[in-house]
Assembly symmetry: C5
């Protein structure tokens, strides 16, 4: 199994600060841009070829969501950034995928980075960086590659479900972040299942030598999830307490709801962490128990047959005068003695609960 490194190679060492360099591994991603422009009354959804097509929405009163997939297309990102007057350092952070979840308040807009978590087809956890820029009446979102957890949001926008169409860009941002955080629940559900599968396997003794490797892998997964989720609590908590005019008072209640979810997820992660540490203990005891069992078999076999073999050896000696050898029934008597010894031994081990 090829191992994924938990760090990203720092391609930027020695680079001039402020230069836009995509640091991820998906350098051949196709560019995918979509826009939703809506008010309570209408909602226009488009798929764009180049980012320039989205520039018309900037000065409208409607709320605009521009979603760009493919961080390798740095020129497009730069163009969009320049159009919306985004600071170069922010754009640098957008394409540098080794960011921790964080929030930067740039007066005209908020910059939020977080991690989307999901399991890929090989059941490896994938952490994809998603950046949001929240402006007065727009939300820009940047993803590494196509495919995300926002389909329910798109659906609500299209069909005006819930309140999303009636509220402003701050509520749209909430809905998007909420979709990501909701998805964390399915991730930790899978983590929980994995832990229980290990538990069941260890208790059933159904373990091969690879289990400790798998447990180590699971530990690493949990560390990865922790790193994505724990700093996000701080981010959301800062939105809550933020006096930014970009977030309406009413919407803050919803962000508090996300915060509650994150606390809930975090608690579960810490529980899993504790449980996985004790899994290792369990595994050790299961190994020791097995060895105990092996030793018992050996001890029982040896303790029973070595003395019997000794007795047989005695009467295999060639001394000229061994009186027992002449008795006619000596052989059968000896068998009797041996059987008694054998049964006595069995009783002894039975009483010791080794059998």
């Amino acid at each position: 199994m090829p191992k994924k490194r938990i760090y990203h190679s720092k391609k930027k060492i020695g680079q001039i600060p402020g230069s836009l360099i995509y640091t991820g591994e998906r350098s051949k991603e196709k560019l995918f841009i979509e826009t939703f422009d809506y008010t309570k009354e209408f909602c226009v959804e488009k798929e764009l070829q180049t980012i320039e097509e989205s520039f018309e929405y900037k000065n409208t009163d409607s709320v605009t969501w521009i979603n760009l997939n493919g961080l390798n297309h740095v020129d497009q990102i730069e163009a969009l950034g320049n159009h919306y007057d985004i600071h170069p350092l922010v754009l640098e952070d957008v394409v540098n995928i080794s960011q921790r979840p964080k929030i930067d308040d740039h007066e005209d807009y908020l910059f939020i980075v977080l991690k989307m978590l999901y399991y890929d087809d090989n059941q490896h956890i994938v952490s994809e960086q998603v950046s949001f820029i929240l402006g007065k009446n727009y939300v820009l979102s940047f993803q590494e590659s196509e495919g995300d957890v926002f389909d329910a949001v798109r659906d609500r926008l299209r069909h005006a479900k819930g309140r999303v169409r009636t509220l402003k860009s701050d509520y749209l941002l909430y809905v998007l972040i909420d979709a990501i955080v909701d998805h964390y629940f399915s991730v930790i559900e899978i983590l929980g299942d994995k832990i229980e599968d290990f538990e069941t396997a260890i208790f059933a003794g159904d373990v091969d030598g690879e289990i400790s490797q798998k447990i180590q892998d699971l530990k690493r997964e949990i560390l990865k999830v922790r790193r994505a989720i724990f700093p996000l609590r701080e981010v959301i908590s800062r939105i809550e307490k933020n006096e930014s005019p970009l977030i309406n008072k009413k919407t803050i209640t919803y962000y508090r709801d996300i915060y509650d979810h994150l606390i809930h997820v975090s608690e579960n992660i810490d529980i899993y962490r504790e449980m996985i540490w004790s899994l290792m203990d369990m595994y050790m005891t299961s190994i020791s128990n097995k060895m105990n069992e092996v030793m018992k078999v050996l001890t029982i076999m040896a303790s029973i047959f070595i003395p019997l073999t000794f007795i047989a050896g005695i009467y295999g000696m060639n001394f000229e005068y061994i009186p027992e050898l002449q008795y006619k029934y000596a052989y059968f008597i000896l068998w009797g003695v041996m059987i008694v010894l054998f049964i006595g031994m069995l009783f002894y081990f039975k009483r010791k609960k080794w059998l």
Copy 2:
């Protein structure tokens, strides 16, 4: 043994925020509504068919306690909520049973969520969510299913025992929370008993391979109890320090009493946690001790009989000229030598304290 997952399946992923969806597993619970309406002078107890029957109590001066069991009946909860002007997000939290204990101050009323803990018939711990809404002269309580720890409270209301009938709704809330917290004591008492039973079993060597699984289960129970109780301390502490006009100054002393109880319970939980971690250590040493014992039996048997068998083997050789074979008493002398060896070995092992 079927394992209970420690998370609840998040049925709400992708749902519109604010929608009332019961997230628990008891979706077929019968609706059970009871009301207590009392002043110092009288106390009227009723069992209702529909929530509408309780609406008459809203504008009276008497204190009203409406207790609703069956969170799956979201329509009834919504009706009650609307009648008392409760925010939809609060109602959403009432029916979403994966809440952490928390308190929300909504000016006109306080919303408090906590967990009722008890052991079911299979000795599995059950954590049932109970929500309280405390208003000026009413307390609304919501439980997942019928059956609770409030019987003593009902009795006191009916027979005007203690001060509950003479005081306001804030004291009623105290009495109800106190009943739940009092019950925590019996839960941790059972936890304590379980830990001691394990200890006794491990020390007596009376353990089967399942003990590590049981210890893991116990760890999980303790984590569950921790999760229910620890955030509650924060909740009660916020009531204490709260300037809410709904809580009288005099009643705060009583809440401080609950707080003391919770600290007491928390300390015990942490002690149990530490003890259960060291239980695992004990178990490991007991396994090692057992293996030691097994090894000693093997070593003693082998060390005694292998050399003797060797000697017997010597005189079983067919060399034409082995002088000893001709001596008449050689066989008996050899027996003597062997018995001396045997006893010598026993002494050796005795001195090594292996016997």
Copy 3:
């Protein structure tokens, strides 16, 4: 050995708050009341039959110490409490022996609960609750049963040793608490001795299977002592910082001295705790070392004699043509070979340091 539970059965579940119920196990204690009434000039010591006899001291200028033993006599405590105008909740705490050390400031008096620790005759640690009520010119003290650590204090009062007779009730309280805290030193001294005895026993290999049980018991003792002492630091620190007019500025220096003692004791407890955790490690290594030794004996015996037995077996075969069997000195040559092998093996194990 009968095990003591670390929790007290919560007899109060479902009881009305404010009711005086003794929760301890010593329900048959004899009532014992003594009073010391003193000024610089005189000191009157009395032993009373009923609490009413003490009521005369209330309105005098002299300092009065009323010491009541036997918390099961709730009526006497209630009478005393009413006479001195003590709040019912305070009296409830006096007789509820599962209190954590705490201080409550009730303006007219301070209420302080702490734990007296000592070892009983079976070398089990006993934690007895002592409550103090400090008023303007009186100290009330409540103990579960007769017998305490205050004899030196009584002596000083009687013979006007030190400054106790020249100062007020706040200094008396200091002297009493100091006596209790001083006694903690002998408790941790015994704990220290026990730990060292275990160390010595483990290092000497002089351990039986019960040692891990005893270590677990010791852990529990340390947890018990911790629970008694750690919250007391907070209590004393609050007296120090307290602006209560009941404590003179000058006396505060003395309380700071107690605080220093408590820090000292706490540090020792934490050190013991760390040491006892590593004791378990030591025990594990000692078990492993023993097993190693057992295995070596087995391996040496088996490795030496199994090959030799094989050789003997060879010449015990009945093939018609085994040339060696005919040589006259073959038997002696074989003995030589075997002895060489034997010595070679010994050398080999010697070089491996297994002998």
Copy 4:
């Protein structure tokens, strides 16, 4: 392998405070001094023989970077310090290489100490102390020996890449620190590789007895890196929050960037630390697994052949009357019995999954 002590011998014990004594081990380093003097328009780079040649730059408006390698040349450092009016205690800290990363604000200049980390040719981590003194228009830097991570910076200065030439000395300091912090990433990358190599080796069972020594060495490396990096976070955070007029508001954003990098590196270090602790656990289980395997081979061999040998021993006895011996096919029947026993045993061990 020669072990490096993690402390430096404190040559200074008993010395008069304020005396300049180099405490490192590279006491024969050649002196190397270089200067960069630049404005937006020009950049003059020089290599000096003595520090006096650099004195001309003090009172110019251009930014001057004086980089001195060879802390053993205390006289040169003292001369430079006196010329720039640096406090003797600061100079003492410059040459005392056992400093923790720290920042001291001396109004006219900031003094910053940090550690440059790199792997030497033997793959041992080297921690070299670098001190910076930031003045109004100069940066003094002091290194233990020639060779550093500043080549990219020099290049940017020479060719006016990026913004370094257009900004002041505070930006130059940022660029220099950034170069050092960037290099931390390659250090932790190597650490991560080492950990994974150990994991792979342990999982592959490809471990020799030295692995635990190597793990211990790795732990020490991580501790060393931790000690260099963790206090630096505090240093940078203090620059950020600093109101020092030497740091422009605009440059602070860049320092925040360094801070983010340091948090990132710190998190990785803590993850590595956790992983290396669990590596030890893995190693233990792998040892136990191996022992289990060894025991199984022994048990299978012994359990199969000891009973068979016993049977052979039976018919090697010399009793005069053993009926079986006379049957013609007895020998072959016995072989059959033995083979059946042998196969039965194999099945038994197969079913137990020992084979």
Copy 5:
């Protein structure tokens, strides 16, 4: 080896507060008093018989250092204390050697207690209490016994080296504390050496059964050092931040230097602590590795020779008709078979890397 208790027997239990009782074990120490009285111009050094001889220095302008060794001479200490108007509680602390490092500000003087650490001839760490009283122009120091780390200070005083003669008593105190703290470095250097010696010994497998005892002793030493040094950081930090007029602003920089040293030492101690915990792990793995090796030898010997012995046993049977026995070369063929088996086994174990 006699074990030193880590607590001191509390001789003071039940004593009247404020009484001067020496609590240490060196009750037969000789009294040794020396005085240094100096200004920039002169320095008078004397050795006194009784403390009264030092009283002449009190009202001079010169700085006086009175150093008293032998805390058992409580009368001399009391006399000195009374002469300099020191509070009785301070004197009590001077002779009670179980103090934690602390500082008390008594307006006219500062009282500082700390611990001098050194290794005695048996390589046991010794912690000796040193108390300082810093007045306007005097420093009083109290040590348990003669012999200290102040020789370099005395030398500097005598020969007016450094700045000590030109500055006031606060600088003298700094120099004295600095001498003690400097000595901590050699203590932790020895600790570091010990840990490395253990590591080397464990890795070389050169361990006897006593190593775990020695590691436990080392843990205790580290705890002792921790207890002496960690609270001292707080003490020095309070001097730094202290607004006491007894400490000049200029001198505070020097105290900050001590603080830096203490942080440095503390970090090393924590590293040692972590390393010693993992030493125990290493030791466990080394034991397990050894057992593995023992088991392999046993398994190889048994697996090879038990089957061979079985074969020999077969042809030692006395059946009348065993065809092989009659073939002339059967014996040699059997030898061939056995040798093939033997070599096959060796190959098998070789391939399993057990050889």
